[in-house]
């Protein structure tokens, strides 16, 4: 276990999530990609706290921030999907973009 390995794990999760967020057409699947990316951020922040400055609580606060961002993204994402589905019966990003024109 070392800082580099944890950071590498965080980077891997971030990239897998980025791939999902870029490729998926369904908005809910896209949000899953964003969750994975934030998971990577959490691992990175926790590792930075543990290996660089464990005496300061700021690293922990950063993790709290990432976890909150995850919850907000999820709630707003589902609300947007609900509003979009109600007005246009779509749940895919491409269809939503087409109908706008």
């Amino acid at each position: 276990m070392s800082l580099e390995l944890f950071m590498l794990l965080g980077a891997a999760l971030l990239c897998v999530g980025l791939f999902g967020a870029l490729t998926q057409q369904s908005i809910v699947m896209l949000m899953m990609g964003l969750e994975l990316m934030l998971g990577g951020v959490i691992v990175g922040a926790a590792a930075a706290w543990h290996y660089i400055a464990p005496a300061a609580p700021d690293g922990q606060v950063l993790v709290v921030l990432a976890v909150t961002a995850m919850a907000l993204e999820m709630a707003i994402g589902f609300a947007v999907v609900t509003a979009l589905f109600r007005s246009r019966e779509v749940d895919m990003t491409d269809m939503a973009a087409e109908l706008k024109e």
């Binding site: 276990m1 800082l3 580099e4 390995l5 590498l8 794990l9 980077a11 891997a12 999760l13 971030l14 990239c15 897998v16 980025l18 791939f19 999902g20 870029l22 490729t23 998926q24 057409q25 809910v28 699947m29 899953m32 990609g33 969750e35 994975l36 998971g39 959490i42 691992v43 926790a46 590792a47 706290w49 543990h50 290996y51 660089i52 400055a53 464990p54 005496a55 609580p57 700021d58 922990q60 606060v61 993790v63 709290v64 921030l65 976890v67 909150t68 995850m70 919850a71 907000l72 999820m74 709630a75 707003i76 589902f78 609300a79 947007v80 509003a83 589905f85 109600r86 749940d91 895919m92």
Partner: protein, 186 residues
């Protein structure tokens, strides 16, 4: 022991993260994401953040349960009975992601990380709590306001009938136009 735990959790986290986008079934994809995020929580616990690790476990379990419900509500093919692909620009995204990963990995190995300074306090949770209620109070209040704004805006976005549907565009209707009569003074 910790090394074995780290590698097991890390491989499982990345593998189930990849499987999220490979499963046909939405329910399976959701639980695969849950597995990945629980492994993340395991790594956080391994790093010594007891409280936050448990918070992540609890939050993700409930979040994924809610996500599974939404998946089945909105998506075709929730059970994965037929194969499907709903992706666009796979090659471009793969190039971008591999590029980002290589960039990050090079940065991780080349960066002159500072050495470990100090050691964790005896009670890590106490430390976090005292920080959030003390020097980091502004962060905590901002988070609270953001959460409150999220509650309001998600209700506004998700509601079917708003006040303009009930009381007209200028909000001056004599009576509210409700599908079911009743309530206070109506």
């Amino acid at each position: 022991m910790n090394d074995v735990l780290f590698w097991t959790l890390a491989v499982l986290a990345v593998a189930s993260g990849v499987m999220v986008f490979r499963f046909d079934s939405m329910a399976r994809a959701t639980f695969s994401l849950l597995t990945s995020l629980l492994c993340v929580a395991g790594e956080v616990l391994l790093l010594g953040m007891d409280y936050l690790g448990i918070v992540i476990v609890l939050m993700m379990t409930i979040e994924m349960a809610i996500m599974a419900v939404f998946m089945i509500m909105y998506m075709m093919n929730p059970a994965g009975l037929m194969p499907m692909t709903m992706i666009h620009n796979k090659r471009g995204a793969a190039v971008i992601c591999v590029g980002v990963f290589v960039l990050l990995a090079v940065g991780i190995f080349l960066a002159p990380w500072p050495g470990r300074r100090g050691k964790p306090p005896a009670d890590v949770t106490m430390d976090l709590g005292m920080s959030l209620m003390g020097p980091q109070m502004l962060t905590m209040m901002t988070l609270g306001m953001a959460l409150f704004a999220t509650i309001v805006s998600s209700v506004v976005l998700a509601t079917r009938r708003g006040r303009y549907d009930r009381l007209g565009d200028d909000l001056r209707a004599e009576r509210s136009d409700d599908p079911v009569r009743g309530g206070v003074g109506r």
